[in-house]
Symmetry: C2
Subunit: 224 residues, 2 copies
């Protein structure tokens, strides 16, 4: 490939960490993009972002403040008044859904890609992790790709890469282990920032997946 | 229609002003969204936005800081070091292009629409004004609509409305005049914020269009 600049959307979670590991194998210049949008674990995720970006010798990093998403309301992830419970309300999306977040993040990455001349954007979205987020599906990514193609024209493509979209969490861990991804720098817990709570949906998915993959999770949990 | 909430993207220019006038005719509850992204005339545009929103009795307004777009660089509109000249460099997009801006704005509007339950988003994009912006085309709007449809599902549509996309500037002015749009509250100049420069591409388009439509432009120009 003549162009080996890639932007990686990096939340600090496992999916985007392993996506970064894959991008590092496929490209020589990595640019990392992180969004703070008022999520409860914002500071922790930012710290993980910086450490993972340093690990992969980022050429440049950008942290974008999506605080306006918090001001819109509508999600438990951005609302400190919400109680962390395991009850699931009878609505179509999980209450950790941030409205149209991935679409916003992808558009920001495309803006940056246009400026630096990157041809690839890597995202750690996963379709089948049971979250039911409408903007994690392959059909959504395809539609976004088409929108980018229309705006860019055929001569200046920017490709969305979603290398873990078809993997389950334990496959993602196995892939990451084979690429020596630094899982100790990743964060999954929705609610705690010191020791992971071990109880929220995201912690339980992570713990089950490490068990299934046959590895020990290197981060610390409450009560452990 | 059972739902008559609409979001209007309002820059403060003529196209979005007339789009707001059309939205006001077609909906009973209007929500106005404005983005500041470090453009030279940011303060003036914000003032116009507030006045136009007040004119149309906005139910709510949001101003989103897209300062990160400025930090990305790559556009004359967001770079105070750029000289305002009439020379056009030999590149494929005008140098007032802000990378993928409309896609970012539309995604933000969709996020807000999801939260307030709006079913319509109005945008004042114009395809044939000669700007050559790749994210003002009908095919781009269609692709964005499809992306929204995929994410939302058929049961919760959010429609993009681009009522002036096929009009030229003098048709937009005539339409606005017939709807009593307050053109005195709008702003088009790319570079000045007190009296319009009258020389930049945007001023010249505006002045020519008022002349062609047979109306007098109510704003003040330098040297006038």
């Amino acid at each position: 490939m003549s162009n080996n600049k890639a932007i990686v959307l990096l939340s600090g979670g496992m999916d985007s960490l392993v996506t970064a590991a894959i991008a590092a194998k496929e490209n020589s210049e990595l640019y990392f993009l992180h969004a703070s949008y008022g999520q409860l674990t914002q500071r922790k995720e930012l710290q993980c972002f910086e450490q993972i970006a340093a690990h992969y010798q980022a050429k440049d990093t950008k942290v974008i403040d999506l605080g306006w998403l918090k001001n819109l309301g509508g999600s438990r992830l951005t609302d400190a008044g919400f109680e962390a419970t395991n009850e699931t309300a009878a609505k179509s999306y999980p209450d950790t859904y941030v409205p149209f977040r991935n679409a916003n993040l992808i558009c920001m990455a495309v803006s940056w890609a246009e400026v630096i001349g990157a041809r690839s954007i890597y995202l750690g979205v996963v379709e089948d992790d049971g979250s039911g987020y409408p903007d994690c599906s392959k059909s959504f990514i395809h539609a976004m790709q088409k929108t980018i193609d229309v705006a860019r024209g055929a001569s200046h493509p920017i490709r969305l890469h979603v290398p873990v979209i078809d993997m389950n969490k334990s496959e993602i861990i196995s892939m990451g282990m084979s690429l020596r991804a630094p899982f100790e720098l990743s964060w999954s817990c929705y609610f705690a920032s010191d020791k992971a709570c071990g109880k929220c949906d995201s912690c339980r998915l992570r713990l089950n997946a490490f068990a299934k993959a046959g590895f020990e999770d290197p981060i610390t949990y409450q009560g452990a």
